[in-house]
């Protein structure tokens, strides 16, 4: 089931790679070859609870970074797993993320 969902996410045209981690930040699956980027995505997943504690604005669902020069990236924070996604710059974030979230609702990641 999980593999199917990840496969479906990877079928989205703008997706360039993904990394799925568990609660301890260990990779469950990954297609990201750039190890620094993979580290950065794991960092974002681990850093999210720090922000939650600092801001006291409730749980973080996702963190997205965009750029005009690099691919965009985002992490979806889940209770058991989190998913980092690398996607093409210039595409509609809203549209893309609603597509991804529709798939993530089938997993334990995301509940939007």
């Amino acid at each position: 089931m999980e593999e199917d969902v990840i496969d479906q996410i990877m079928q989205i045209k703008q997706i360039k790679g993904f990394i799925q981690t568990d609660t301890e930040g260990e990779d469950v699956a990954s297609t990201i070859e750039d190890e620094q980027l993979a580290h950065f995505m794991r960092f974002l997943v681990g850093y999210a609870p720090v922000f939650e504690k600092t801001a006291e604005l409730g749980p973080i669902r996702s963190i997205i970074l965009t750029s005009n020069k690099n691919n965009n990236l985002g992490v979806f924070i889940g209770k058991e797993h989190s998913l980092g996604v690398l996607f093409a710059r210039g595409c509609s974030i809203k549209k893309l993320f609603s597509q991804i979230k529709a798939y993530l609702n089938k997993l334990s990641i995301g509940d939007a």
Partner: protein, 150 residues
């Protein structure tokens, strides 16, 4: 950038439907804010957190200058303006991102071009001691404006 300019920027941003609050963060300080007082003391911590994300991205040669932190009800959108200060906006999830993006780009350009406040009175001959004080002040402000975009 004077205090008035900062407030003008924030006022313009919060005038958009979908943006409830905004603030400017630089060097571990909140320079201006429209956030409610109850959250004011948390803002610098949030700014530090977001600044660290930008710095970490830049450290691995990623030129990201916009972060969306999606919360339960809203999204905290932060722009790194001129590699200098952070513009943090609390927005609804359905906000028109292109509208905000273009406004921030215009602010970025404007701060770059008009960062220095214009001289108050160029016609009248200045008193030397006052002038040197004012110039010094302007030079410091100018340096900050040029280097830090404020």
């Amino acid at each position: 950038m004077s205090k008035l300019d900062r407030e003008k920027i924030l006022d313009e941003l919060v005038s958009f439907e979908g943006i409830s609050h905004s603030c400017i963060y630089q060097n571990e300080q909140i320079l201006a804010s429209t956030f409610p007082s109850i959250i004011q003391d948390k803002l610098s911590g949030m700014g530090r957190f977001i600044d660290k994300i930008f710095s970490s991205a830049h450290a691995i040669d990623q030129a990201h200058d916009e972060i969306h932190i999606e919360l339960e009800e809203n999204t905290l959108i932060t722009y790194r303006v001129n590699d200098d200060f952070l513009l943090m906006l609390m927005a609804t999830k359905g906000i028109n991102l292109s509208l905000v993006y273009m406004t921030v780009k215009a602010i970025e350009k404007s701060v770059k071009l008009h960062g220095l406040p214009p001289p108050k009175n160029t016609a009248s001959p200045p008193v030397p001691s006052e002038v040197s004080k004012e110039k010094k002040c302007l030079m410091i402000t100018g340096k900050k404006t040029y280097l830090f975009g404020l």
